[in-house]
């Protein structure tokens, strides 16, 4: 009986921990713009401000490393379809040169 209670507690704790992990690491359970949006954003090159790029490229490893504004090889995620309107490019300058 005692073991059953302990098992129930362990399983309950495991399920709570799993939900917490999902809540922390996905935007599935986050308010109005939740959901796993994939096709709704696109990589946009040439629009990131210095230090505000989203991620790495051939020249450095990660986010926040852009040295100047609007470098053609630094990118940011933007809502799909807006990149070219704001003067960005869907391809990196590193890619188009080669």
């Amino acid at each position: 009986m005692q073991m059953k209670l302990a098992n129930a507690a362990v399983i309950a704790a495991a399920i709570s921990a799993a939900l917490l992990a999902a809540q922390q690491n996905t935007n599935l359970m986050r308010g109005k713009d939740g959901g796993l949006k994939v096709a709704e954003r696109e990589r946009c090159y040439g629009v990131a401000k210095a230090g505000a790029n989203d991620c790495g490229n051939g020249r450095h490893a990660c986010a926040g490393h852009a040295l100047a504004d609007a470098l053609p090889y630094e990118w940011k995620m933007v809502p799909a379809g807006t990149c070219e309107k704001i003067g960005g490019n869907l391809k990196s300058s590193d890619e188009t040169q080669s």
Binding site: N25, N27, C62, M77
Partner: protein, 461 residues
């Protein structure tokens, strides 16, 4: 060595044990229990290794720059590591509380692999890219780590289950990528495949094949390993069982020897030989039922054997109610004679207490006779190829046996030779009080008269 009825009686007592021991039967329950114990430990080990891997990957994740946007819809690696960690802890709980049924283990094996497959699937969400991207994920290698971890337990079933889950999972991932891809996602051109998000069906089939092959090889290795485990457990228990028939030093000598023990292998040693005999045994055996008789012998041996061993003696053999022990034969010693005489003093004291206790309880109270002799003996292996025995051979052995019989003639409890007493005193034996010396005694079976020393007065019959 010893002649007469004592020796023949000895064979009746000891022979039965060897003849009854059968080696060809199905594995007894205690061997299964031992294997279950091994599997239990394996399961705990799997859990600990998994925890270590989790910690390593978590540190790796924390200390390397992330390669996706901070507001990505899913952070696949921390999510996967968390879920995997939860599964490991839940399984460790069930394992540690000994509740890990096959059902729970099967669930956890499948779930672990499913978490990895889910994490790989979630990569395309994390990178906000086409699903076909995850097919090129290096996380595929973790599949092999998880399968290999299952091989820490000696059971091919779980490796196969883990491997099959991985193979099915990878096929499902490939199908999902194909179905959700826009346009024609398939290429058969290797360079295009490597440089784009196109899918090469041959490449994915290769990966599934590799998973299946690794699983099959590990399962085969485990099936063999399991057989060796069963053999090892059975033989370790057999060795433990049989080693109880040997003195500890002798058992170590047999298992630790570079060469297999063979008849004719022997070493010369200066040693002391002790014979202990229960007095009034013949009378006892006439009055007691066999089970009571063996009970008395067991009680007496449990009393005296530790005394002999605590003084550095090795039990050479039990001969019915008699015990033969050697000092300095199994391993060399420079105080063997003193050890032997101290052992005799302790034995006489212990036996006297035992006798008094039994007499007070109204039970038959046999006394003890003992004799020691020292000299050069051959310690070695005798017998034929199938039935060997480590023993001591030499004049001292014969003399000790004869002196032990002579205690009755002298009406004393314990005897040794004057030479041996002097040798023991040179080796540091002080003893309790001066020993009475008996000059030029005729001992039955010994050609020349001997000077003897009385170690314990007053025989109790």
């Amino acid at each position: 060595m010893t002649e007469g009825s004592g020796r023949r009686r000895a064979w009746r007592w000891t022979g039965g044990f060897f003849e009854d021991a059968s080696f060809g039967r199905a594995l007894p329950e205690r061997i299964h229990a031992d294997i279950r114990e091994q599997q239990f430990r394996s399961e705990i080990m799997v859990g600990i290794v998994q925890c270590a891997i989790l910690v390593a990957f978590s540190l790796l994740y924390v200390f390397t720059p992330s390669s996706f946007t901070p507001d990505a819809p899913v952070r696949a690696t921390p999510l996967g590591l968390s879920l995997f960690g939860i599964l490991v802890l839940v399984r460790l709980w069930f394992a540690a509380t000994d509740q890990l049924s096959r059902g729970i283990l099967a669930f956890s094996v499948v779930a672990e692999m499913a978490v990895l497959m889910f994490t790989i699937w979630a990569y395309h969400l994390q990178f906000e890219a086409q699903p076909s991207l995850y097919l090129k994920s290096t996380a595929l290698f973790y599949v092999f780590i998880i399968i290999a971890l299952r091989s820490l337990r000696f059971d091919p079933l779980w490796v196969i289950l883990s491997g099959l889950t991985a193979a099915v999972g990878w096929v499902a991932l490939t199908v999902y990528a194909l179905v959700t891809a826009p346009g024609n996602p398939i290429t058969w051109d290797y360079v295009t495949y490597m440089a784009s998000s196109q899918i090469h069906p041959g490449g994915e089939a290769d990966k599934v094949l590799a998973i299946v092959m690794v699983t099959a090889i590990l399962a085969l290795a485990l099936a063999r390993g399991r057989r060796f485990l069963v053999q090892a457990v059975a033989q370790t228990q057999a060795a433990a069982d049989l080693s109880r028939f040997f003195d500890r030093d002798v058992a170590e000598r047999i298992t630790g020897a570079d060469m297999r023990a063979a008849a004719g292998h022997g070493e010369l040693r200066n040693a002391a030989i002790l014979f202990i005999d229960m007095r009034g045994f013949t009378k006892l055996s006439a009055t007691l039922a066999p089970s009571d008789l063996i009970g008395v012998i067991g009680e007496y041996q449990r009393l005296l054997v530790p005394v002999v061993q605590s003084h550095g003696g090795n039990i050479d053999k039990f001969m019915g109610d008699g015990i033969m022990a050697s000092f300095g034969a199994a391993s060399p010693s420079d105080h063997y004679a003193a050890d032997a005489l101290r052992a005799v003093d302790a034995i006489l004291a212990a036996a006297e207490r035992w006798r008094a206790e039994r007499a007070a309880a109204g039970k038959p109270a046999p006394g003890v006779g003992a004799a020691v002799a020292a000299g050069e003996v051959l310690f070695g292996v005798i017998g034929d190829e199938n039935r060997l025995e480590y023993t001591v051979i030499g004049d001292a052995v014969n003399l000790a046996a004869k002196l032990e019989k002579h205690t009755k003639a002298e009406a004393v409890r314990a005897l040794t030779t004057r030479d041996m007493l002097e040798l023991a005193q040179r080796q540091g034996y002080a003893g309790a009080g001066a020993k009475r010396l008996l000059h030029q005694r005729d001992v039955a079976g010994v050609a020349d008269p001997l000077d003897l020393a009385v170690l314990g007065e007053r025989t109790v019959q």
